[in-house]
């Protein structure tokens, strides 16, 4: 469904992504793990066409999508839940969701559909329904994350890009959010690309995973393989640590 072939991205003179390739099959959950500054967010932003790709190709459903406008990407069915949630704080919860379906609002049928989608999202996150008249800025971090996911789902994406949805949240809320993501993939067949620092939780849920290090893809495999991989364990899962300390 999605194929990234050898893309390179720079920020000025600095390499952010070097010959990165990745693919996603329909209905898969794929996770991308890596340390801070490895280029995970850059990869997602390249997909959303917020960061221009210098060379290489991105194919979505067989069509090249590199260097389209970000709004066209959304129209094609790729929605991103950005890092740090980035909800529209001065607007109400309801308005945030409404804007998620911005491109559907040009037609009457689209508006009706957006209403349905919104009630589906309220079922998914009942707390948002309770808070729908509140300004998004007054929500807690977990609620903002739910809103951010809900806003992305309003566009009815075929591919959902999630950038560190667990960042800064309590473990219980992280569990709830992960459960929702898993449900989405099972019930709605939404394809998910999940960027995470919480590698263990991400790999438990995902089918496959990629490891990104300083702008290069260093590993690829099924989630089970990566969980067993010694390098991954040491660098991202925190096992072996005890033995290192004892030595």
């Amino acid at each position: 469904m999605l194929k990234i072939k050898n893309i390179n991205t720079y920020y000025g003179q600095v390499y952010a992504l070097k010959n990165v390739s990745l693919h996603l099959k329909e209905g898969e959950i794929v996770t991308l793990i890596g340390a801070n500054g490895a280029g995970k967010t850059t990869l997602l932003n390249s997909l959303s066409c917020i960061v221009p790709v210098q060379s290489g190709e991105i194919l979505f459903a067989g069509e090249s999508i590199s260097n389209l406008a970000p709004s066209q990407i959304v129209r094609l069915g790729i929605s991103q839940v950005p890092e740090g949630r980035q909800v529209f704080k001065p607007l109400s919860v309801e308005d945030n969701l409404e804007l998620g379906a911005y491109q559907h609002y040009s037609s009457r049928a689209g508006r009706a559909e957006a209403k349905n989608t919104a009630s589906m999202i309220y079922d998914l996150f009942p707390i948002l329904h309770k808070r729908r008249k509140q300004l998004a800025g007054t929500l807690s971090g977990g609620e903002q994350q739910m809103l951010s996911i809900g806003r992305a789902l309003m566009a009815k994406p075929k591919l959902l890009l999630l950038d560190e949805p667990s960042m800064g949240l309590a473990p219980m809320i992280v569990q709830e959010i992960f459960r929702v993501i898993e449900n989405l993939s099972q019930e709605k067949q939404t394809t998910v690309l999940l960027v995470e620092q919480n590698a263990r939780a991400a790999l438990k849920m995902a089918h496959r995973g990629y490891v990104l290090e300083t702008g290069k893809m260093i590993l690829e495999g099924t989630a089970a393989e990566l969980l067993q991989n010694k390098d991954v364990q040491r660098a991202y899962l925190g096992r072996d640590k005890k033995e290192i300390w004892e030595r």
């Binding site: 406008a69 980035q86 704080k89 001065p90 804007l99 911005y102 800025g137």
Partner: protein, 294 residues
């Protein structure tokens, strides 16, 4: 008795000038919120509104209403051209260089207006006669009522647009976080263009409704623009209540200053207020600090 009547008169004319300043301030706020730049050509759209109206009235002998509609339309087209030709082509320009470009554009527009329409001062006929009405002993011109009514109408339309329409909400989302806005599929460039459309339309409207009272010429834009800027600074760059209050306050102080101190200090008062606000409360009188929870 005579004193209180006089005071009432000052307040009335102060408020009607203030309403105009508030409208001009709105134009500043809308563009600032969408793009982060202060459009110093804003005053020129006020001038264009008045001058185009006269142009259509005098040269084409159109009735008032079509002349006004055409004047707003033409000013807005110039606003669009300004954005397309001078703002959009510049990629990665800093806000400061864009601000300087707007100053350049303002000089250009003023220069063209002078060449086309000359240096004379013109008066637009009042919308519905010049027979004053007497309210509580003070005289009020019908034009004042027009100014208040149209200002209220524009404020209400603004409020409805930005709070209830999807496009208005999208513009606010853009102003708050343009990257997140583009991630939900909002075309940020279109929103910027739209902000120029709205603010040049509102600016020209302001220029048209004040023209019968104060006359108009190619260079009225400088002063009116700066007064509007002053109003929006008092209001903390908001396109809401703050700027309305800022404009009215400025108009009132100006008119009371003219009445009780001296008419020659009229403009000085506005700029003293502007400087005081910038020194003491640069976030504006009315803006409360945004609360943020993470």
């Amino acid at each position: 008795m005579d004193n209180s009547r006089q005071l009432f008169q000052y307040i009335l004319s102060g408020l009607s000038n203030g309403a105009i300043y508030a409208l001009i301030g709105f134009g500043f706020a809308i563009i600032y919120n969408a793009t982060g730049i202060i459009n110093f050509a804003q005053g020129e759209f006020v001038m264009l509104g008045g001058m185009f109206t006269i142009f259509f009235l005098a040269f084409f002998h159109l009735p008032l209403l079509p002349a006004i509609i055409l004047a707003i339309l033409f000013s807005t087209i110039i606003g669009i051209a300004f954005e397309r030709l001078a703002i959009r082509p510049l990629k990665n320009a800093t806000p400061l260089s864009l601000v300087i470009i707007t100053i350049g554009a303002s000089i250009l527009l003023r220069g063209i207006a002078m060449l086309v329409w000359g240096k004379d001062t013109h008066a637009v006929t009042a919308f519905s006669g010049n027979d004053p009405l007497y309210i509580a002993g003070a005289t009020i011109l019908p034009q004042h009522i027009w100014i208040f009514a149209i200002t209220l109408l524009i404020i209400a339309a603004n409020k409805i647009f930005f709070n209830y329409s999807i496009v208005g909400k999208a513009m606010r989302a853009c102003a708050y976080n343009s990257q997140a806005a583009s991630l939900v599929g909002i075309n940020v460039k279109t929103m910027v263009l739209l902000s120029f459309v709205i603010s040049s339309a509102i600016g020209s409207m302001a220029g048209i409704i004040i023209a019968p009272l104060t006359m108009t010429s190619f260079d009225v834009g400088i002063m009116l623009g700066l007064k509007g800027f002053c109003a929006v600074i008092i209001g903390g760059m908001s396109s809401g209540l703050g700027t309305i209050m800022g404009g009215l306050l400025l108009g009132l102080l100006e008119s009371l200053g003219v009445g009780y101190i001296s008419a020659s200090y009229k403009d000085a008062i506005a700029f003293i207020i502007l400087l005081l606000i910038l020194f003491i409360r640069p976030e504006g009188l009315f803006r409360t600090k945004e609360t943020e929870r993470v």
